[in-house]
Amino acid sequence: MRILSPQDASLAVLIVKDIAHAAGLGGLKISALTTAVSELTTNVVKYAEHGLLTVQVLERKQLRGIEVIVEDRGPGIANIPLAMEDHVSTGGTLGLGLPGTKRMVDEFEIQSTLGSGTSVRIVKWS
């Protein structure tokens, strides 16, 4: 799904929510997943001109999982480890919200090259 504007981001969240619901994920897991998707797509809208969201249902033994990949060709993240740290500073905002996003999902992978873009893959299992 192509993300160009905040409305696309909202739509993306709704789509993921529907898919997660259809896959049988419980209420709060859906909330966590959709918030994570919201975080990631908001980043795309904020920092990159456009992005691509891919959602897929995974199956592993008895479990179903929702995999969402959000990619963009934006400026990229210079220092990933730093971005993954919680900011305890006063007055500062949360920046990319990545550490929190990681806490909300079961699997989290991020790749980013300065100048070329960022790709984040998250999975939430049922």
């Binding site: 799904m1 192509r2 160009l4 504007s5 905040p6 409305q7 696309d8 909202s10 739509l11 969240v13 709704l14 789509i15 929510k17 529907d18 898919i19 259809a22 896959a23 209420g27 709060l28 859906i30 909330s31 966590a32 959709t34 918030t35 994570a36 919201s38 975080e39 908001t42 904020k46 891919t54 959602v55 897929q56 249902v57 919680d86 905002t93 949360l94 919200g97 550490p99 929190g100 996003t101 806490r103 909300m104």
Partner: protein, 142 residues
């Protein structure tokens, strides 16, 4: 609009290309006992918050408002960006000397904001619009 999409099949992989949706943000304000009640739409958007801030500033200047309740009970998903938007609303009203209460926050959002470690020291929460009104009334008594 969502119904039009074939979401029934648990498709192994869905790659959707969707045209830009038309967003709608209408700010609805209700006044009750000199308290302004603002239901937030689902989903929230930057456009909505922009309009809200403008409306609030205008309202607070003209009318006697002793408190504001943001009714969050319809909002299913909010990330930290949305949290910051709400904080900005609070900052505005705070500067105008009017207290603001967040009412009816959904468990999923509360959990998410908590995991995202948002800075929430400024926020006053209430279980419902009703309780929010009581809190504001209590404020008055002090």
């Amino acid at each position: 609009m969502l119904c039009a999409l074939p979401l029934t099949a648990l498709a192994r992989s869905i790659r959707l290309h969707i045209d830009e949706a038309q967003g709608e943000h209408r700010v609805v304000l209700q006044k009750f006992n000199e308290v302004l009640i603002v239901p937030l739409p689902d989903p929230v958007s930057d456009g909505f918050f922009k309009d809200l801030n403008t409306r609030l500033l205008a309202f607070l200047r003209l009318d006697n408002v002793r408190g504001i309740v943001l009714d969050l009970s319809s909002v299913e998903v909010m990330d930290h960006h949305d949290f910051e938007q709400i904080n900005r609303v609070w900052q505005t009203t705070h500067l105008m000397g009017t207290p603001l209460v967040l009412a009816g926050l959904k468990p999923g959002v509360a959990a998410a904001w908590s995991l995202l470690n948002v800075k929430d020291h400024w926020a006053t929460g209430a279980l419902s619009v009703e309780s929010a009104m009581e809190i504001l009334a209590g404020n008055q008594a002090r």
